[in-house]
């Protein structure tokens, strides 16, 4: 019997969705949260619960919807990208941001033109890591759940493919973080 590749594609779509969400919202939220240091721990809170949510969803859902899985994974991805973004902003020379403010730039413009672009590499690397983790987590759990429900042995090929994709994205993320890409 031909292996079922759909969990791989569903996992990849969920990962793409959650990474995109994290990439769009995370850097700006992290920039905004710099002013409210006391609120920052709240943003990290979902990091501790979302893998559980994702597993629970995969196990319980009769019809697996990649968008729903992506949305659940976003609660895990977003804080991760925010954390990486905050660290990247913290590593910037304060003179850059101060210079931009002193030249009359609004906070949004400081973020969009200066802080964001200068912190782009670590932010993209964080998004890549998140993509790899979510793709592996959602895809693998789905394969195992389906196999369990059908009382069959999980197919090795899709599991290996998921692991390979995850490893490749991790590798790209690492290279991006170290500045050897682009």
């Amino acid at each position: 019997m031909a292996p079922d590749w759909s969990p791989l594609w569903l996992g990849l779509r969920a990962a793409a969705f959650s990474s995109a969400m994290a990439l769009v919202l995370g850097p700006w939220l992290a920039y905004w949260l710099q002013r409210y240091a006391a609120a920052a721990p709240l943003a990290w809170l979902p990091l501790s619960v979302t893998p559980v949510l994702l597993f629970a969803y995969c196990l319980r859902a009769a019809q697996f919807r990649w968008a729903a899985a992506g949305l659940i994974a976003s609660t895990f991805s977003l804080p991760y990208v925010m954390r990486a973004s905050a660290a990247a902003y913290g590593a910037l020379k304060p003179e850059y941001v101060n210079a931009a403010r002193g030249l009359g730039a609004t906070e949004w413009r400081v973020f969009a033109r200066i802080a964001g672009p200068l912190a782009l590499r670590p932010i993209l690397a964080a998004a890549a890591f998140v993509f790899a983790v979510v793709a592996a987590e959602a895809g693998a759990v789905l394969i195992l759940v389906r196999a369990a429900r059908a009382d069959a042995t999980p197919a090795a090929a899709p599991l290996a493919a998921i692991a390979a994709v995850s490893l490749a994205i991790h590798y790209l993320g690492t290279r991006l973080e170290r500045g050897s890409l682009g």
């Binding site: 003179e95 850059y96 101060n98 931009a100």
Partner: protein, 342 residues
């Protein structure tokens, strides 16, 4: 009118409390690192908030601690040239300058940017990234970017700027310029007013040459690089002859009459190293000749620095030193008119 009164405590040890006016032109802020120089610039620019005080720039209140007014940095129109290179590294020099003109209509923006780049000799290097530009070019670009925003007050931190560029900047803006520097020569040539900062307080202010020649206190004398600062006792005062006799631990000097002091008072006396003259020990001793053994001779950029016993230091021209270097013994002459009682 541009005026600032700033108070701020910075743990562990700095307590800033300064008040000064800034006239159009260049005002130099001179002091040791850690004396609060950059903090003053940050407070004026709005990057840090004073605990108390008031900042008035071009008759507009930017900060008033009592009235709880604190205009954000982006609305202050205070330009900054930072100590560390702060050009945005991902933008070209031209884009850096354009960043400061974002609120202007497109055509005017292009014209103004081109004019500003041209006025600072950056037309050709405008398309290079900061990392590809020479330090001098980067400094010019930082100045162009700051000027592009048409600041009402321009702050220049200790960034190694040379006199020619300061003069050029002064010609391109009517805003008062506050220049932080450790270069006394630059203070004297480029600035109309000098503020000497010592441990968060302004120890002396005035025309740069006056401050350098006539320091008011031991701290200022040491800050402006006067090595000969001695504590002594007023041994005699003669208002008729306009003289005084000052006794130090190892020698005595005759100086001008000291107003406001009595015999027995302890005073500090300062005299610049370049104002001392040196003679051979075999020459007949004159007024204020002090015999002192030479401890060390060190080459300086424009002179030779001679360090004698008793903490006496004299700067002499190379030719003069070459003529006298074989002296068996030495005498140092303290011209009475150059003695400054602090």
């Amino acid at each position: 009118m541009t005026r600032a009164r700033l108070g701020k405590k910075v743990p562990p040890g700095l307590s800033l409390d300064v008040e000064f006016d800034l006239a159009p032109g260049v005002t130099a802020l001179f002091g040791r690192p850690g004396s609060g120089r950059t903090l003053i610039l940050d407070l004026l620019a709005g990057f840090a908030t004073p605990t108390t005080g008031r900042i008035l720039v071009d008759d507009v209140i930017l900060f008033d601690g009592a009235a709880r007014v604190n205009v954000p940095a982006r609305l202050r129109q205070v330009g900054s040239i930072f100590q560390r290179d702060a050009l945005f590294p991902h933008l070209t020099l031209r884009q850096n300058v354009q960043f400061a003109a974002a609120n202007k209509p497109r055509l005017e923006r292009h014209r103004r940017v081109a004019e500003t780049l041209d006025s600072l000799g950056l037309t050709e290097s405008g398309d290079s990234k900061p990392r590809d530009a020479a330090p001098e070019v980067r400094l010019r670009a930082a100045a162009a970017r700051a000027l592009m925003a048409e600041p009402k007050l321009l702050l220049i931190d200790d960034c190694g700027m040379e006199e020619a560029l300061v003069t050029q900047i002064r010609g391109l803006t009517k805003a008062p310029i506050l220049l932080v520097t450790r270069d006394l020569d630059l203070c004297c040539t480029a600035a109309a007013q000098l503020l000497v900062l010592e441990a968060g307080r302004i120890a002396q202010r005035g025309a740069p040459v006056e401050v350098v020649d006539q320091p008011d206190s031991v701290e200022v004398a040491r800050l402006v690089g006067i090595p000969n600062v001695f504590q002594g006792t007023v041994a005699a005062l003669d208002p008729g002859r306009n003289t005084s006799r000052l006794e130090f631990e190892h020698f005595a000097l005759t100086g001008p009459y000291i107003k406001g002091h009595f015999r027995g008072d302890r005073v500090w006396v300062a005299i610049g190293a370049e104002k001392l003259a040196v003679h051979g020990g075999d020459e007949p001793a004159g007024v204020n000749y002090v015999a002192a053994p030479l401890v060390r001779a060190a080459e300086r950029s424009r002179c030779v620095r001679l360090e004698f016993a008793y903490g006496i230091t004299a700067d002499v021209a190379r030719e003069e030193y070459a003529r006298q270097k074989d002296n068996q013994s030495w005498q140092v002459e303290f011209p009475a008119s150059a003695l400054r009682v602090l």
